[in-house]
């Protein structure tokens, strides 16, 4: 466990040494800033004509929930991939370091950086509090949900990075995996119609399973509306556990090649 923390510290520090962090932070803050401005402007006009409401951090969390999808693979691509193509993995695997410590440390370092990125949005919350009276509950649950969601996405990215020594392939795998679980719910609707037509209980099970695997549903409908559903927490934690477990097995398997 101590070794995992050693690896995590190095990875976390690396984000700030390398330009990756600043490129990602730039993209993140510019887009989020524009969306925030647009939302606030729109709502203020609504209020002028009546029918608006109190400001809410959902204006930030909503787009943020989708935005992180685009930068997670960039943050994770080099984590295990670069160790493989530079050969540094050979040194890491010949010191007394267990594979799971390596993988956990890599993920932890990336997650801490992800939390820092998300934390920058607190500025928007402060702005909203300065001019309005937003509800605190959804802000807490929103941040909790985002922290879990980015942790899960990063874990999937770590797994993608374990598969190859090529950075481009690693980022491609990263997008492929994260986007797939993001949109898998899309096919549950047509399936649901099909199931309704056949009125077969078994098809409904598949629809439920697909909906459960679908990433987006676990944030936008619950955490972002101020609801903490245990099944969502369990979902994100299990995505993290399964992805890191798979990545560990891939690193272990490298020894046997």
């Amino acid at each position: 466990m101590r070794n995992a923390w050693t690896i995590a510290k190095r990875e976390f520090a690396y984000y700030f040494i390398s330009p990756i962090a600043y490129a990602v932070a730039l993209m993140f803050l510019v887009i989020l800033g524009l969306l925030f401005f647009a939302n606030v402007f729109f709502m203020s006009q609504q209020n002028t004509f009546g029918g608006g409401g109190e400001p809410t951090m959902q204006w930030v969390f909503g787009p943020l929930g989708s935005l992180i999808l685009f930068f997670v693979p960039v943050l994770t691509m080099r984590l295990l991939s670069e160790e493989q193509n530079k050969g540094t993995l050979e040194i890491l695997l010949t010191v007394p370091l267990k594979e799971w410590e390596l993988v956990l440390g890599k993920w932890l370092g990336a997650w801490l950086f992800g939390l820092c990125l998300i934390a920058t949005t607190i500025i928007y919350a402060l702005i909203l509090f300065a001019y309005g009276n937003p509800d605190l509950g959804p802000i807490y649950t929103g941040y909790l949900g985002l922290a879990l969601m980015i942790g899960a996405l990063l874990a999937v990215g770590v797994f993608a990075s374990s598969l190859t020594g090529n950075l481009i392939v690693a980022v491609a795998f990263g997008y492929a995996f994260t986007l797939t679980i993001w949109i898998i719910g899309f096919i549950s609707d047509p399936l649901q119609n099909l199931a309704a037509g056949l009125s077969s209980g078994r098809s409904n099970l598949i629809v439920d399973a697909l909906n459960y695997i679908d990433f987006s549903g676990h944030f936008q409908n619950t955490f972002n509306r101020g609801v903490i559903d245990t099944s969502d927490v369990v979902y994100f934690l299990s995505v993290i556990a399964v992805s890191l477990f798979l990545a560990t097995r891939v690193v272990e398997a490298r020894r046997w090649r």
Binding site: R2, T6, K86, I91, L92, V95, P96
Partner: protein, 318 residues
Amino acid sequence: MIQVEGLTKRYGQRVAVDNINFHAERGEIVGFLGPNGAGKTTTMRILTGYMPASEGKAVVAGYDVFTHSLEARKRTGYMPETVPLYDDMTVWQYLDFMAELRQLPNRESSVDEAIDAVHMVDRADSFISNLSKGMRQRVGLAQALLHKPEVLILDEPTIGLDPAQVKDVREVIRDLGKERTVMLSTHILSEAQSLCNRVLIINKGKIVAEDSPDRLRARLSGGDRVGLKVMGDGAGLSDALINVPGVTTVRAVRDGELEIETAPGGNVRPELAKAVVNGGWGLVEMKSMGMSLEDIYLQLVQAETEEEEDQSGEAANA
């Protein structure tokens, strides 16, 4: 300290390491000598726990590298051939990171000592990306000896260095070899000759010879080789010398200089001198040349290859 029994590694059909046996004791520097692709790196990777063997047993510092990998790794320092390092860190940061991974109790002093041992105190705060090949090599070495391991495994530690750096690194290794077990691979014969107590010559995954460099030379060369220099062009000298008992070949290198090979057993040098002086040639110089490790190595490696070709030829004929 290192004990290897029946170690075999297969990559699919290809046998990289073929049933090798050897051991190395404390205070020994063992050289692993062989052409590229002979199985040196594979053997070292098995010993360091990076990859498992297909068959056989390897014990390092008292721990089996397959069943007690972590314990063995704790006591081993390893420098891979390519010296992979993190370019974004300074020398000090990198070694501190490695010391933390190894959970050393007094990290700072361990790092300082390792930097001192490879003479890099003045470059401790340089970024690794700015270091020359030789400097990187030294950082790799420092990393391997951070935790004062009982066993050091160095894969081609002097490759790509300039002569001054080679000398430097060899001195560091010689120092380390006094109280530890050092195993290094090389394909530079003079290095094995000057550095190692014992040399293992490996070819095509098999150990073809194992002994001290001096004894290897004595055992394999058998006869003596003598260089001779006389005044003038030495006309007719070859004919006179070939008749000296015990001389097998006489070869003129240039005017007045000859190389003579003798049969094993007996010292013919006094007879040679007598023949030269009696014939009226002015003897200027006479020296024993011995067979270099290089000759022995080529002989062994070629003999192996020819043998194999013979066998495959016979198989084809049959």
